[in-house]
């Protein structure tokens, strides 16, 4: 099962890279949808059908809201390009793995059940052995995905212009924190799953509304600039 989780993490990162680096808002929305839906599958074992449905619906809803809001808006491509964004995601994922391994070592030292580096003992059947004695658990992969999304989303959120890129950054950072919360703190209960889904949707909606307003404001400013040339004002 865990090699499948590794594949899911790769899909999450790939979708996020597409979302932040593409020039086309439609492709960005698709990339975001892929990242969010794949994030919903990041657990071992999978949650109940209801919870899975809540996660998937929330992800798709966010992508749909952003798609509708960003349509026709000004393009905001990544200044780095997709290769650099992919490297950034990889670096973030590696950092997340390191964080998870460190936490596993702490847990093992305290007698916890999580597999830890360089410690003998039985491994869980689904754990992935990376090399030597290092065991990567499902939670570690969740943390890795979370930090990868954080690395990708932080820059557009903090430094991006108000618009679609910042909205996508907001969604990615929100999803990153939600993944980190589960990866570091353990599985969420059902009520929290609903609250988390609501938070994700609200983040997406907030980003979408503000991006739309920014596009309208920019269109109004452009119209005023054209009018200052002495030509008839047409909005």
């Amino acid at each position: 099962m865990s090699p499948a989780l590794v594949a899911v993490v790769i899909v999450v990162c790939a979708g996020a890279v597409v979302a932040v680096s593409t020039r086309d808002w439609g492709a960005a929305a698709i990339g975001l949808a892929v990242a969010l839906v794949a994030s919903a599958l990041l657990s071992d074992p999978l949650p109940s059908v209801a919870i899975l449905g809540v996660r998937v619906v929330a992800g798709i809803l966010v992508a749909a809201i952003l798609r509708a809001a960003l349509q026709g808006g000004p393009r905001q491509p990544s200044p780095l390009g997709w290769p650099a964004e992919a490297l950034l995601a990889t670096a973030g994922a590696v950092a997340g793995l390191g964080l998870a391994v460190g936490l596993a070592a702490l847990a093992a030292a305290a007698g916890g059940p999580i597999g830890a580096p360089n410690l003998p003992g039985p491994r869980n059947p689904g754990d992935v052995v990376v090399g030597g004695d290092v065991t990567v658990t499902a939670m570690a992969l969740v943390v890795a995905a979370g930090t990868a999304l954080l690395a990708l989303g932080a820059a557009p959120l903090v430094h991006g212009e108000a618009g679609g890129r910042r909205a996508i950054g907001l969604v990615l950072v929100t999803q990153a924190v939600l993944l980190l919360r589960v990866g570091i703190g353990g599985p969420a209960v059902e009520l929290e799953e609903i609250a988390r889904a609501a938070l994700l949707v609200v983040s997406g909606a907030t980003g979408a509304v503000i991006a739309r307003a920014a596009a309208v404001a920019r269109a109004g400013e452009d119209a005023e600039v054209r009018a200052s040339d002495g030509r008839p004002l047409r909005v």
Binding site: G102, L103, A104, L106, A107, A110, G111, G112, I114, L157, A162, R166, L170, V173, T174, V177, L178, L180, R181, V182, I184, G185, G186, A188, V189, E190, L191, E192, E193, I194, A195, R196, A198, L199, V201, V202, S203, T206, V209, I210, A213, A214, A217, G220, E221
Partner: protein, 485 residues
């Protein structure tokens, strides 16, 4: 079960009010008003102790949840009517109902991660809806949109930071790592760091100095009626959830010397500078904003000790101060609408022109100062003394004197000679506009009823002032009696 019904009603009414605010404002108002009254009724009949289990988490209704719901819903019902009197876009009731629903569930939930996620999700409406309305209404102020964006990021960011800290708490590196709370030096460092992380989240959410710029800019661009939902009540509930988690997960041992120093410094900065700013500013919206900020600074002092009696005092303080600032916000909105000005220089004699508003302001002033013997006074002393033993009582007197000064200035302006701006405004005294025809007493009941809307419009200022009196009475009641914290 009552809590669930209350939250569902508030959420449904709030969302419907937001969605219909522009296209059908009358429907939005009616839905919001019925929702607020329904929530208040449910809160009043809510049993003081009720528990149920939803989604694997227990929800426990406490006297605090009940008091918060009653005070907020009652204030919201009055604010809904005042919003009609004040005019403009409907931006108060909908977001406030959503915030109230989320707050009630968040306070009752025994799972802090769920509470934090819900608060972040529900608190955004209180910023985005009024912020965008302010941007739409004032196209000549393009900075309103970035202000709304920053405010939304602050609300969401504080919630996300809180979730990260809570996740750390439940991790192997946290205080519950491997099922044992560690107080060894390494563990103490972690506890302190976790406490500071949660305080940082609170500081962002409440807009404490020096993180106050987004809050100050936001308050400049929206109706004063929209401020309580985002900053008075919204911040209060966030602090309460953060305090509950800190008390359980970290405990009083988390605040070492350095942590205590940092927390006290942060709190005192907001208390002192917020109070000074309120004293210096001439416009009533800034006075309102900085007074709310000052109240938040007092509440943050609870994190410096996390003792049970201090946390209980913080609960009383937060609910009471939110009620008082709701009344002050209503007063500011009514004064601005009635007399057109918001600077003290333009508001000379406002209390002479509207004695009812003056009476309401007197009640707000007394509640904000919180005289010795008031529950709010005891809460303030306990909070300050708990964080700074020895000099706490003296500081509490200074903290009480500040509202006396910055609100007292406004009161003195009220009894000063009437300025031209105030004289030009409608009188706050109720009057019969003459809607009746000569010999009306012999006329039909229908003609008398048809005269009612005209009389209501003619007495808009007086009716709005009466609404502020009701809020001031609630503020006094909670300042005196507390919130059952």
């Amino acid at each position: 079960m009552t809590l669930l019904v209350l939250a569902t009603l508030a959420l449904a009414a709030g969302v419907l009010a937001i969605v219909t605010a522009d296209s059908r404002p009358a429907v939005s108002l009616v839905v919001g008003l019925i929702g607020a009254l329904g929530v208040m009724a449910l809160a009043l009949v809510m049993p003081p102790e009720e528990s149920l289990r939803i989604g694997g988490v227990g929800l426990v209704t406490t006297p605090l949840v009940r008091a918060m719901a009653v005070a907020w819903a009652a204030g919201l019902a009055v604010l809904a009517l005042l919003e009609v009197a004040v005019g403009g876009r409907l931006t108060v009731v909908g977001p406030s109902l959503v915030g109230l629903a989320v707050a009630a569930v968040a306070l009752a939930t025994r799972d802090p991660a769920s509470s934090m996620a819900a608060l972040a999700a529900g608190g955004v409406a209180g910023v985005v809806v009024p912020g965008l309305s302010g941007w739409l209404d004032r196209a000549d102020s393009p900075s309103r949109l970035p202000t709304t964006s920053r405010g939304s990021l602050a609300i969401l960011g504080s919630g996300l930071l809180g979730m990260v800290v809570i996740a750390w708490g439940a991790s192997a590196a946290g205080p519950f790592g491997a099922g044992a709370i560690s107080v060894e030096p390494g563990g103490q460092f972690g506890l302190g760091l976790g406490l500071l992380g949660m305080v940082a989240a609170v500081a962002i959410r409440c807009g404490l100095i020096p993180l106050h710029v987004w809050a100050a800019r936001f308050m400049e661009g929206v109706s004063p009626l929209a401020i309580p939902a985002a900053f008075a009540w919204g911040s209060a509930v966030f602090v309460l959830v953060a305090l509950d988690w800190s008390q359980v997960a970290l405990g009083p041992t988390a605040a070492g010397d350095i942590e205590r120093l940092l927390i006290v410094a942060l709190a005192l900065t907001s208390i002192v500078l917020g109070g000074l700013a309120a004293m210096v500013h001439d416009d009533i919206e800034h006075v309102l904003g900085y007074s709310i900020l000052q109240d938040a600074g007092v509440a943050v002092l609870a994190f410096a000790s996390l003792e049970p009696q201090v946390v209980a005092a913080a609960r009383n303080w937060l609910v009471a101060s939110a009620t008082v600032k709701t009344a002050l916000a209503a007063w500011a909105a009514v004064v601005r609408t009635t007399y057109g000005g918001h600077r003290l220089a333009d508001l000379g004699g406002w209390a002479r022109r509207s004695p009812v508003l003056g009476l309401a302001f007197a009640g707000i002033l007394v509640a904000a100062i919180a005289l010795p013997g008031f529950s709010m006074w005891d809460a303030r002393v306990t909070l300050i003394e708990g964080a700074i033993p020895g000099v706490g009582f003296a500081l509490a007197i200074v903290a009480a004197a500040m509202p006396a000064i910055y609100l007292g200035r406004i009161g003195f302006a009220g009894i000063a000679p009437v300025t031209s701006a105030v004289a030009a405004g409608p009188s706050g005294r109720p009057r019969w506009s003459g809607g009746r025809a000569t010999g009306w007493s012999d006329g039909s009941m229908g003609s008398a009823i048809r005269a009612v809307p005209a009389e209501l419009r003619a007495n808009r200022a007086a009716l709005a002032a009466a609404g502020v009196v009701a809020l001031a009475a609630m503020a006094l009641a909670t300042a005196v009696g507390g919130a059952g914290g």
